[in-house]
Amino acid sequence: MPSSQQSRFDPSEEIISPAIGLKGWLRWIWRQLTSMRTALILLLLLAAAAVPGSVFPQRSADPNGVTAYFKANPVLAPALDAIQLFDVYTSAWFSAIYILLFASLIGCVVPRTAAHARALRLPPVETPRNLKRMPAYLAVEWSGKKSPDALLGKAQKLLKKQGYRTLLAGDSATGSVSAERGYLRETGNLVFHLSLIGVLIAVGVGGGLSYSGQRVLVEGESFVNNLAGYDSFSPGTFFKEDQLVPYSVRLDKFEVDFYRDETLKNKANTGTPTDFRAFVSTTLGATGEQAKAKIRVNEPLAMPNGNIYLTGNGYAPSITIRDAAGQVVYSGSTPYLPQDANYTSLGVIKVTDVPKQYGIISFFYPTVGTLESGALTSLYPDPALPMLSMNVYEGDLGINGGEPKNVFALDIKNMKQVAGGKSGVKGLRLQLGETVKLPNDLGTVTFDGLKRFSSLDVSHNPGGIWVLIFALLALAGVTTSLLVPRRRVWVRRTETGFELAALARGDDPVLEKVVADLAAELAPNKKGSKKVAKTAASPKQKVADE
């Protein structure tokens, strides 16, 4: 704990006698665990243990990265996985460290809280016999006569005014004032550590009750807030479906602003998105109450039991496919996933309502351009010159087995390419409004129109607010414990004057000044008074707890 207070257990006391028995051993282990040195080592271990999670992709933050890592390192990856390097922050070893750390923290903080509660009720300690040993010391001589009788009373009043607790001991001739301030330092320290326990509990419980669901919506589409309404859903351990309040959300319109510099002075910034806006209509299931709202990045929409966040967007070209007889076999706006900053986008179309299934892997270029290699690319993210390119594959789409399939991927393992690539037939290219023929008499495809889609994320974590409250308490606590000085001050009358001393617990930059100022107030620099300063007994103003 950040305070100069030594562990409750002085290292010199940790002498192990040869026959201490089981109880003794347990006590010894507990003392070791709750010692500050152990806490320090556990903290450093925790820092070191967190590092691999930034080096290797993590399933929680970057599941695609993990899949890619397995593909790239088929031998190494399973070995790393065996020691949980892809789940570092839920791994056994990471958990072990922080559980031990918190056990150590609790073991240290609970007795200290009790001790502090007692100390708050006790008067300051009595004045030590030898004040000269204190790190700040000053003796004031009242040449010729004794210091005034009222001195101690005045000292007590002054110290009280500065927030000290004081204790007047002995008679006015040879007595002394003992004062202590800064109890708040230890209070802050304890609040900080107890708040960390609060943060941990709030993170755990909140995580268990949380959920987050993702849904891609094309303009004009809507979704209903139930499990079936989501493309993917990650519930916490204690999640129950009735946490999902019935409502529906319709994406009316999606707008994007891209930076355009007419003077072309700043080419680097051209095409940078400056704003995303999703305009939605919501309908509450219970009351039928309707509302319109705008969702932006950083501005989620608050709904009952969760916020709706805007997490992604892209184009959804409207495509119609007809068979050779002119019958529509596929029609709709398919979301294409953006692949680069200029929205070169990848989409997959699966045509299933035909005798011979086929699939299309397609690219969309909002503003098409040609690279030197002849390949197409997008030059600008707005649809200035939109174009679709398509490669066609015939064969088993793999959707008859009943397994869920990724709508954004086409498994071409059991398929034969019939257009594009090395198939001998050129890939298809369509401008907006164009219709072209598909190979092998499959019919025609039409690029009817262009819509945008947005990815929405509905998230709820009831623990969040508690994490925040405890985190702010911890911040207040640590600030108090580091900045409020805790010190004891003593004033004692002597034969020929009086002496003052001060002792700080923890770092105290003004210890000597405190003593000097108090001396000046008690004996204003008048003729006949002389001050004798003594250099500090120890240059360090850090003194272990007695």
Binding site: L43, A61, T272, T274, F276
Partner: protein, 304 residues
């Protein structure tokens, strides 16, 4: 459509001004380095002339900081926002705050002798910023358009600056207490020893480092909390072990260790000084390697 106006011409002026500041930092650095070498001289007449050189150095440093500040403000005006949205801007603002805090601390604390370090460090940071991190003035991506950019990043810069000065003090402390410095008979080490003898006493260095570090720690704790609040708005979760979040946590934990070390018998002095230096190395790592090479959500270097 664009509500933001970027002024590329003004950004170019800002860059020139910052480069001008680098030139003045060079003079300040040379003056301070020369000052130290004169102070360490064995000849009394050389030592006597040193204080004038120090005054020249301080004047140069104030001039450099002023020019630096102008360049920083111009960068902000040219982008119509706060000048800390990418690595280049973070570097020029961060290093300005370092020198600003240092100049303020000069009036209250005798930490003049690390002036060489501060001038040299700023020169290095600005050099890297100008040659490696430089990007044309850019509009903010939607995720960064939030008042939390002002709060979260500014406090992070402040915390970094405090840690930076503390690290400089800890390095001086470590040199001063190193056995090889104390005992080596090499001539060069002898000179170093004489330079180090000019620095405040070991205990004072240690205590000053501690004070800068506790302020840094409080500010870093705030950075972490503010970042979590912002992440909850922008990324729909307050904490997700993104690489930058991981490193913010690591740095926080190292400095928490540093504070415990200062309260643990046998861990003060060199060990805690080392922890302070390791903490600052982690900050530099977080800012450079993690930003440029690690995958994560905090991608704002603006570099390709």
């Amino acid at each position: 459509m664009n509500s933001i106006t970027l002024n590329a011409d003004l950004a170019a002026v800002s860059r020139l001004v910052v480069e001008g500041a680098m030139l003045v930092y060079t003079f300040a650095f040379l003056a301070f380095a020369l000052h130290l070498s004169q102070l360490a001289s064995t000849k009394k007449s050389v030592r006597a002339g040193a204080s004038r050189l120090e005054r020249v150095g301080i004047a140069m440093l104030i001039l450099a900081a002023t020019i630096h500040g102008v360049g920083m403000v111009l960068r902000g005006i040219s982008a119509s926002r706060v000048p800390w949205a990418n690595m280049y801007e973070f570097s020029i603002t961060g290093s300005f705050i370092v020198v600003f805090i240092f100049l303020l601390a000069l009036t209250i604390k005798d930490i003049r002798l690390i002036a060489t370090f501060v001038a040299g460090f700023n020169l290095l940071i600005l050099g890297v910023a100008d040659t490696v991190f430089y990007v044309e003035v850019k509009s903010l991506m939607p995720a960064l358009q939030s008042y939390w950019l002002v709060i979260h990043v500014l406090v992070a810069v402040l915390a970094t600056s405090f840690f930076n000065i503390a690290a400089a003090l800890s390095i001086a402390y470590l040199f001063k207490t190193a056995n090889w410095v104390k005992s080596s008979k090499a001539k060069l080490v002898g000179t170093l020893r004489r330079v180090l003898a000019l620095f405040p006493k070991e205990e004072k260095l240690e205590r000053m480092a501690y004070r800068f570090n506790i302020i840094g720690f409080i500010l870093w704790t705030f950075t972490l909390i503010a970042g979590a609040i912002w992440a909850e708005r922008a990324w729909h979760r307050y904490w997700g072990w993104d690489t930058k979040e991981v490193w913010t946590f690591i740095i926080w934990t190292i400095y928490a260790g540093y504070l415990h070390a200062n309260a643990t018998r046998g861990w003060g002095g060199k060990r805690s000084a080392w922890l302070g230096v390791i903490g600052f190395v982690a900050i530099l790592f977080n800012f450079t390697i993690v930003n440029l090479f690690f995958k994560g959500l905090h991608v704002y270097s603006g570099l390709k």
